[in-house]
């Protein structure tokens, strides 16, 4: 009764300042049976997660927001974000997520219309699971599933995974996401 989570849809938070791209990614994700929340900025994404921009969450003077450090407002299983956004870039958002004790384990995927190897490498080195070149396609969205499943397995059935390390997941695509391989940027599957 309690552990119905294996039946629930994965919830993806999509972040993109372009309305067209938000609509597109939302359709792609829904087609893949994910639940989607789409926001237009990094700060809205953090707000949605319940992570204030303010570092001192606990010392926030607003009495209404006395969340303990490890509180998560909503369950998000993956964050997919555009890189180039005004204000907070996708990279900035990635860093904030990875620096947060509550959210660092949420897989983050970056999208960009620009094929800049140093940018891609930096994102992957700093914790992004994948980097997709825009326009994002269904074949890219199909690559999300292993990252989502890994999170889910850890929650419910930790002994399903033979190895406990997150790096050891048997996704064939992982071999492509190496720092010095430009193949990671190919949108074609």
């Amino acid at each position: 009764m309690g552990m119905a989570t294996d039946q629930a849809k994965f919830h993806v938070l999509a972040v993109d300042d372009s309305l067209i791209d938000r609509k597109l990614i939302e359709r792609l994700l829904k087609t893949s049976s994910y639940q989607v929340t789409a926001v237009d900025s990094g700060s809205k994404a953090l707000e949605f997660l319940g992570l204030n921009n303010n570092e001192d969450e606990q010392r926030n003077s607003n009495p209404a927001s006395v969340y303990p450090n490890d509180h998560q407002d909503v369950e998000v299983n993956l964050i997919i974000t555009d890189y180039c956004m005004p204000g907070m870039t996708g990279y900035d958002l990635l860093r904030k997520i990875k620096e947060s004790s509550s959210f660092k384990d949420i897989p983050v995927v970056i999208m960009s219309s620009e094929n800049i190897p140093s940018r891609i490498n930096r994102c992957l080195e700093d914790g992004a699971e994948e980097f997709f070149l825009k326009p994002v396609q269904l074949s890219d969205v199909n690559k999300l599933r292993p990252h989502l499943m890994k999170g889910r397995s850890k929650e419910i059935q930790p002994n399903i995974n033979k190895r406990k390390g997150m790096e050891e997941i048997q996704s064939p695509d992982r071999t492509r996401a190496r720092y010095n391989e430009l193949e990671v940027v190919s949108p074609a599957n």
């Binding site: 067209i20 609509k23 219309s113 269904l138």
Partner: protein, 149 residues
């Protein structure tokens, strides 16, 4: 015209758009995302593209009319237009945007003005093409047929 003829007309017209470079593979992807639960997806996205593009073209015109041109601002607008045209498969618009960005980087006013004219032209062309295609689809539906994939 009967349904079969309307369907053929539509299929031929759509094929010509690919052939002439107006549309690329990304548009096919969009069509594949449309289904009975989301029957207006393509029209909705393309409509957003029209609104967005018109706004950006206005901004670009204004930005390039300034005494002292802010090329970063111009580039930011072109970047957005490039992105949205790429997302819907409007290939010819996208291509002009690429050239446009290069001129921005070089701070080449003449080049930018030329590209602005070109991109307006290409946008206007593709808009007409889309509208015609949607009309042909509508004719099929009105005649009781279904849109060929």
């Amino acid at each position: 015209m009967d349904v079969l003829q309307l369907q053929k007309q539509f299929v031929d017209y759509r094929a010509s758009l690919y052939h002439e470079g107006f549309l690329d593979e990304q548009f096919t992807q969009l069509q594949e995302l449309q289904d009975e639960n989301n029957p207006d997806f393509v029209v909705e996205v393309v409509s957003l593209f029209f609104e967005d593009s018109e706004r950006l073209l206005n901004e670009l015109t204004k930005a390039l009319e300034q005494q002292s041109i802010d090329f970063k601002r111009v580039d930011a607008h072109v970047h957005q237009l490039k992105g949205s045209s790429s997302s819907i498969g409007a290939q010819r618009v996208q291509k002009v945007c690429i050239a446009f960005r290069n001129y921005c980087e070089e701070q080449n006013i003449e080049g930018c003005l030329k590209c602005l004219q070109q991109v307006k032209h290409e946008y206007s062309l593709v808009k007409t093409k889309f509208e015609t295609m949607f009309q042909l689809e509508q004719q099929i539906l009105t005649a009781g047929g279904s849109i060929p994939v």
